[in-house]
């Protein structure tokens, strides 16, 4: 494919396809063809995007193209280099699956709403692709904001709900605040280099004075961190992702937050050569915090989509752990280790895009059929929606980092990087690596617990509501969409040794080293880290071994005596008549032990109210209420907002309506200027 067309041409094709999709969706109100086009075009675009990014990654080539607006400084420059290509790849695979999924998901929308949704969906895809490929401050900021804007329109899609409107506004405001920081940072760089072109920024950070450089790094970290949803600037994420239509949530959680990661990588590894130690440390700390707090908050959720949203924060944290270590290795002069860490981070970026997309699509199917996001009203879905359940299970296994799926590979790489960190860095920093590793392990285990809860409560046992009982399996295209991602999860899990070489071009570009040869054993079956006597792992071999060993338990369980009676009986219900959904363990109950253990963080509030007739020991009805305190919102953001509004309200006294006062302002201004202006 790359031979026939250059990757940039393919990229143009993809962009054009998205554009056509947007155009077509405006016609979607007029009958079926519009609908077909408005989702078919992005599908083609996604396929082209895959081709483009793959060819660029394999050739490790850099393509630059651009157009100039008539206005000086305002140019539209595109650059497809390996780093951009990787993110485009993630985007394109996801977009491919989501477009297929959307055929079924959006089928029963009324024409007008369909048109709006499809239009902004295409615009979002277009802007995302451009965000990853724009290579000029002006152009980048434009597509960056277009992305935010279209995402805002998509989040506010069901804007008759107050919750949705709030979430949309919150997202837009925080995102714009982040952009403001970016603007300042970029312009500072531009002033230093005298150009707005990213190409000119390459390693420009090194030439800045120490203090200014650090300030810029901080600006960029926060600015991009808002989009990535790092703690403590994450609060928009769990608000916005759940309320968006599920295919959009998948896109947002899968790839939109990755634009933040892209920005951080671009700035820290491309614009800045070697960053000071404190930066890497900060990134590492932020990563650990986000990972741990993210999963802890996820555990307390019983809104399925919010739970997934919090897991996005967790995974962003894991990615940042990789990036932080890479930065530290750079600072301590170990490019090879830095490459390892970078590969780990980027691999996890790719993985998270896939399995989080998968999970959101699964949640979407559930929401679509069972009409609820509240896990306490689901249950038993595995019977009526078997495929959705299977897909969700795969996603859950993958995101919990369990072998042999893709989540395990990237977490393993991250562990290897952290392990190497102890030896490679100096005094105090070195302790952070193992501790980070331990906390990462805790995070992973908690994630597993969380997804046992999510899958177990939502899909297993008895249905907890009528909708859940009557839910139907998702339509064919929705299943197909999920199927694509299931396949991708397997591919990236089992085919790890074929994926890792893809990152060579990136590490070459960012750090000047290629590590895949060092990471893959000669026979091409296992990944190894840290030379000959290193830890090795081979997901493919594991999978093979599991299959090979399968007959043993099978023989034990079934082969022994076929005649052994296998009956189906009621579950043990302590002798009470009949087991009902009311007997089941709820999501809240499931997470209770952890709520107790981490009560210092959650500060849970519970309220039990029992009404009884005879004696309190025989209650007729019990109302139990338990909620945890959203610490950041309560402790930081609410006071901040209140403060700003208070000040603003005070300042309105300026405009109190007295014409005398108004004249006095002018008078004072005049006198001051006369006194200081004329004599000056």
């Amino acid at each position: 494919m790359g031979a026939l067309l250059t990757s940039i041409q393919l990229l143009y094709g993809a962009l054009a396809a998205y554009g056509c999709g947007a155009a077509a969706s405006l016609l979607a109100t007029r009958g079926q063809w519009g609908r077909l086009g408005s989702l078919g075009f992005p599908l083609c675009g996604a396929l082209l995007g895959i081709a483009a990014s793959l060819s660029s990654l394999l050739q490790g080539s850099v393509h630059i193209a651009g157009a100039a607006s008539g206005i000086p400084l305002l140019d539209y420059t595109l650059r497809l280099d390996p780093l951009s290509a990787l993110f485009c790849l993630a985007l394109s695979i996801l977009a491919c699956a989501i477009s297929i999924y959307s055929f079924g998901y959006m089928a029963d929308l009324e024409p007008r709403k369909f048109a709006i949704l499809a239009f902004f969906y295409n615009v979002l895809l277009l802007s995302l692709t451009l965000v990853f490929t724009a290579s000029n401050v002006f152009f980048f900021l434009i597509v960056w904001e277009v992305m935010a804007g279209s995402a805002y329109c998509l989040v506010s899609f069901d804007h008759h709900k107050e919750e949705t409107r709030q979430a949309g506004i919150l997202f837009l405001l925080m995102s714009h605040a982040g952009t403001a920081l970016l603007l300042v940072g970029f312009l500072a760089l531009a002033t230093a280099t005298g150009s707005l072109d990213f190409a000119a920024f390459h390693h420009a950070g090194a030439r800045l004075p120490e203090l200014q450089g650090s300030a810029l790094l901080l600006l960029f970290l926060i600015g991009f961190g808002v989009k990535a949803g790092i703690i403590p600037v994450h609060i928009w994420l769990p608000a916005a992702h759940p309320v968006a239509p599920s295919n959009i949530s998948a896109l947002m959680s899968g790839i939109l937050i990755k634009t933040g990661i892209y920005g951080i990588v671009r700035v820290f590894f491309d614009f800045f050569d070697v960053v000071p130690v404190w930066t890497g440390t900060l990134v590492l700390v932020v990563g650990v915090t986000s990972a741990l707090l993210g999963v802890l908050y996820a555990l307390m959720e019983h809104d399925l989509k919010r739970l997934l949203a919090y897991h996005s924060i967790e995974n962003i944290g894991i990615i940042l752990i990789g990036l932080g270590s890479a930065l530290l290795f750079q600072a301590f002069g170990h490019p090879n280790l830095a490459a390892l860490a970078l590969v780990a981070a980027l691999y996890h970026t790719l993985n998270h895009a896939l399995f989080k997309g998968l999970l959101f699509l699964g949640a979407g199917s559930v929401l679509h059929r069972a009409h609820t996001r509240n896990m306490e009203e689901m249950g038993g879905l595995i019977r009526c929606m078997p495929f959705t359940a299977f897909a969700f299970l795969i996603g859950a296994v993958a995101i919990s980092g369990l072998p042999p799926l893709n989540g395990f590979v990237s977490e393993w790489l991250t562990y290897q990087a952290l392990l190497a960190g102890f030896g490679a860095t100096s005094s105090l920093v070195r302790v952070m690596f193992p501790v980070t590793g331990a906390l990462l392990a805790l995070t992973a285990a908690l994630a597993a617990a969380c997804f046992v809860k999510a899958f177990g409560i939502a899909f297993l046992a008895l249905p907890r509501s009528r909708e859940a009982a009557e839910a139907r399996e998702a339509s064919g295209s929705m299943r197909a969409g999920m199927g694509v991602l299931v396949a991708a999860c397997f591919a990236l899990g089992l085919g790890a040794t074929w994926i890792v070489p893809l990152f060579d071009a990136i590490t070459q570009q960012a750090l000047g080293v290629r590590v895949s040869s060092a990471l893959i054993t000669a026979d091409g079956w296992s990944l190894i880290a840290g030379g000959a006597r290193a830890g090795a792992v081979s997901t493919a071999a594991m999978a093979a071994a599991l299959v090979l060993l399968a007959p043993i338990p099978a023989l034990l369980a079934l082969g022994w005596r076929r005649s052994a009676a296998r009956t189906v009986g009621p579950t043990w219900d302590c002798g009470l008549p009949g087991l009902t959904a009311a007997n089941e363990y709820t999501a809240t109950a499931f997470s209770k032990p952890l709520r107790m253990v981490f009560s210092a963080l959650y500060q849970p509030r519970r309220e039990i109210q029992a009404d009884f007739e005879v004696s309190p020991y025989y209650p007729t009805a019990i109302r139990f209420e338990s909620e945890i305190q959203p610490t950041f919102e309560k402790r930081f953001y609410d006071p901040l907002l209140a403060g700003i509004l208070r000040v603003a309200a005070r300042m309105r006294a300026i405009q109190a309506g007295s014409v005398h006062a108004y004249l006095a302002y002018i008078f004072v201004a005049l006198i001051l200027l006369l006194l200081f202006g004329v004599r000056a």
């Binding site: 309105r652 405009q655 109190a656 309506g657 007295s658 014409v659 005398h660 004249l663 006095a664 008078f667 005049l670 006198i671 006369l674 006194l675 004329v678 004599r679």
Partner: protein
């Protein structure tokens, strides 16, 4: 006819300018509406006189027209209009200004000082009788007039007195115009006068309407539009 002596003319003008300034301060201090209006009329007469003097002594015949216009407009017509409004309203005395007399007189003094400070910054002119020399002496007065008029507008509550302040402030402008540059090019002068006339009419109508709407002329009552 004999050539008039510019030096004498300059002295004369400076004297009259000083008088104008005194009148302005008096107006700032005085509380009776009608008296204020009369003072304003007197001031305008003096300005017309100054204009005529300059025209005569400095061979600037095109200044006669502005002089006449001022005489007619600010000396006669406008005061008439205002007095009629005041009579219709039926209030003769300004209620307590925002800043009491002694203080406002003091401030007026201060503003005069500021006027001189500003005028000081202009370098000493070379060559005796010329717009420059005349300018240096009268510019200070003009600026002071301007500032004091401005101050009046802030200090007084009545709509009419605000108009009056605006007008006296424009008197300062006029003084500067005729003494600094012997006035604008003629058409501009005409335009300015035309505008002033319209402005006075517009403000007059507004005052009238306000009195009807709020049955008072106290502009400090106009504070419904906030924030």
């Amino acid at each position: 006819m004999t050539l008039p002596d510019p030096q004498f003319g300059e002295k004369l003008i400076t004297l009259m300018a000083a008088l104008v300034l005194v009148l302005q301060i008096a107006m700032a201090g005085h509380r009776w509406l009608v008296t204020n209006i009369r003072i304003f009329a007197l001031q305008s007469f003096l300005l017309a006189a100054i204009a005529a003097t300059i025209a005569w002594f400095n061979h600037a015949p095109h200044l006669y027209l502005p002089a006449l216009l001022t005489l007619a407009l600010k000396g006669v017509i406008v005061p008439r209009l205002l007095e009629r409004v005041v009579e219709r309203v039926g209030i003769r005395q300004e209620i307590e200004p925002l800043i009491n007399q002694p203080l406002s007189a003091l401030l007026a003094g201060g503003l005069t000082l500021l006027g001189y400070v500003v005028a000081e910054s202009f370098q000493r002119p070379e060559g005796s009788p010329s717009p420059e020399s005349l300018g240096r002496n009268t510019l200070a007065v003009a600026i002071s007039l301007f500032l004091i008029g401005f101050f009046m507008m802030i200090n007084r509550r009545k709509a009419v007195t605000q108009v009056l302040g605006l007008l006296s402030l424009e008197n300062g402008l006029f003084l500067a115009a005729i003494s600094l540059t012997y006035g604008f090019p003629l058409i501009v002068d005409l335009g300015v006068f035309f505008d002033v006339l319209i402005a006075v009419m517009v403000l007059g109508i507004l005052v009238h309407r306000i009195r009807e709407a709020f049955d008072s002329m106290d502009v400090s009552k106009l504070d419904r539009l906030r924030g």
